[in-house]
Symmetry: C3
Subunit: 242 residues, 3 copies
Amino acid sequence: MIVLFSDFGLSGPYIGQVKAVFAEIVPTVPVIDLFADAPAGDPRAGAYLLAAYDDVFPAGTIFFAVVDPGVGTARLPVIVLADGRWYVGPDNGLMALVARRAAPATVWEITWRPPHLSASFHGRDLFAPAVARLALGEAPPGRERAGLAEPMPHWPDDLAEIVYIDHYGNALTGMRAATLPAQARLAVGGRELARARTFGELPPGSAFWYQNSNGLAEIAVTGGRADRALGLGVGTPVTVIG
Amino acid sequence: MIVLFSDFGLSGPYIGQVKAVFAEIVPTVPVIDLFADAPAGDPRAGAYLLAAYDDVFPAGTIFFAVVDPGVGTARLPVIVLADGRWYVGPDNGLMALVARRAAPATVWEITWRPPHLSASFHGRDLFAPAVARLALGEAPPGRERAGLAEPMPHWPDDLAEIVYIDHYGNALTGMRAATLPAQARLAVGGRELARARTFGELPPGSAFWYQNSNGLAEIAVTGGRADRALGLGVGTPVTVIG
Amino acid sequence: MIVLFSDFGLSGPYIGQVKAVFAEIVPTVPVIDLFADAPAGDPRAGAYLLAAYDDVFPAGTIFFAVVDPGVGTARLPVIVLADGRWYVGPDNGLMALVARRAAPATVWEITWRPPHLSASFHGRDLFAPAVARLALGEAPPGRERAGLAEPMPHWPDDLAEIVYIDHYGNALTGMRAATLPAQARLAVGGRELARARTFGELPPGSAFWYQNSNGLAEIAVTGGRADRALGLGVGTPVTVIG
């Protein structure tokens, strides 16, 4: 299974051109859109999302993981094998949390280059063909490295910020709920929020946080949009109390 | 064929995780996105949409039908067989119109539970696997009931409200056009609109209503957006004149 | 391979109903979403997009190309064969640039009609089945014509306007970069922009133009949105200097 994680947007011509590469080379492999709207140009927020949402996919899954504001500059193209799953994309921090949490991760620099490599769309020209080769069962088209060039040791294990606003206006933090005290309160947007189990428990308009279905601490408002009600966006800091 | 009808949003990680379940269990069954943006948390509006848009799909189609603001509370998970098509989702009114218009519908409560059931994402954990089982040709994983627990008898057969705003700004009502007088006018947003056959017939900027390609009465403005021109949104009431 | 190019929107029920036609008739043919958000009701902007984004697809690709504000009026439904690729949609200018750049193009009027043809959704009822027939290897279901009824000779070979705003806020022009002088500057939104190779070369906040990965001249701002920074939208004129 190939899983797409990017900031390309579902609309527009980018995801389609990537999928066309798969349709030509590995037409029978399922391709799943996970995130096409990871925060644009923000590999740090994306790193915490990717490391939270990969767990539900089976071993052997190949992630096309591309949030690449430095496309065309010197950052390395890499392949990471972590806990049985493959990740293909730029070495700019996007895979730093995946690699850190694995035991251990193996990293290859992609040294293969396509006959035609555009300056601005390595997703289509370089990363998608590399994903397709892995899906064909080929070896990583590159050389093994000791680790990521950009492991981002200064990034925390869990990020006390909003990393994504979803379709309902819920605000996902970069913190795994399991790392927080059971009765922790989260201070965000000038409010202190208690924990709840799910949406149905509280009266309409209540703001709360809960462990979402992929394990992240998430902020929500029953019957409303937390982003608007609390003034939240990607990058808004969160403070853990208790 | 599996058809997705939900308020999950096309972007973000929800639809992808549902499709990953199908890719693992029934990888060769086509999966069609019908609505990923049914009105959020509004099973009533969704019920009229679902009952209008299912007709174009062949017998044997399985609808993943999930608009589920009460996830994690006591509402039943159900499977409905109506006019040869299957519907899997919460018993919260979303399937009330489908069941009412069928002759007759058969209802099962889903009693099967997955090894891991999150509190907030039954779409992925419960409903998607139930859909996949039906797609494999298995019997409904539950027990037959006399009918829906929430048949919503107080909901009208046709809803004189806006139930959806589409990509062009057209406003779909919950009324089947065939139930309206041929020369009916619709009063909405302070205007009275006459019927037209299609967009090409009227000068630019004209507001009108017409029978859309799925049978609903729909309000449009030639060369413009009806939602903005007339101030329409989901829930705006419509009055039939004549 | 079937490629979808339309203004139907990815959300809502339109693309899904088109794909359901393919799932029934040609379930094993890959279907790629290229643009579902071509400028709404604007076949002129769409014509320059389509003619720029078709090149990356192999011979034999069938484009479902439908931007059709005149649906239900007298415009012809056509099939165009240009440089080995097929295009199915309305003869309203949308395929004018594709046909003009081919050497030469062959055109058929679609004379086949389905048992049920709605007044407003020929994409589902007429064009999608015609695409499916071509994907089955059948001959075009119509009669050959000398050319398009609407070849739009007054439209320029390259359009000095913004034809699309992408997910990042980048503004695509209708001009092929290869037709511009190497050192050309583009005047747009009250600014004069120099050419750059890609995003990584300039300090954050810099506005520039570059040849995008499909060959169009595109306007961007490093680390920002060109549409907001420069006040650009579909239709904004661009002037080439030098």
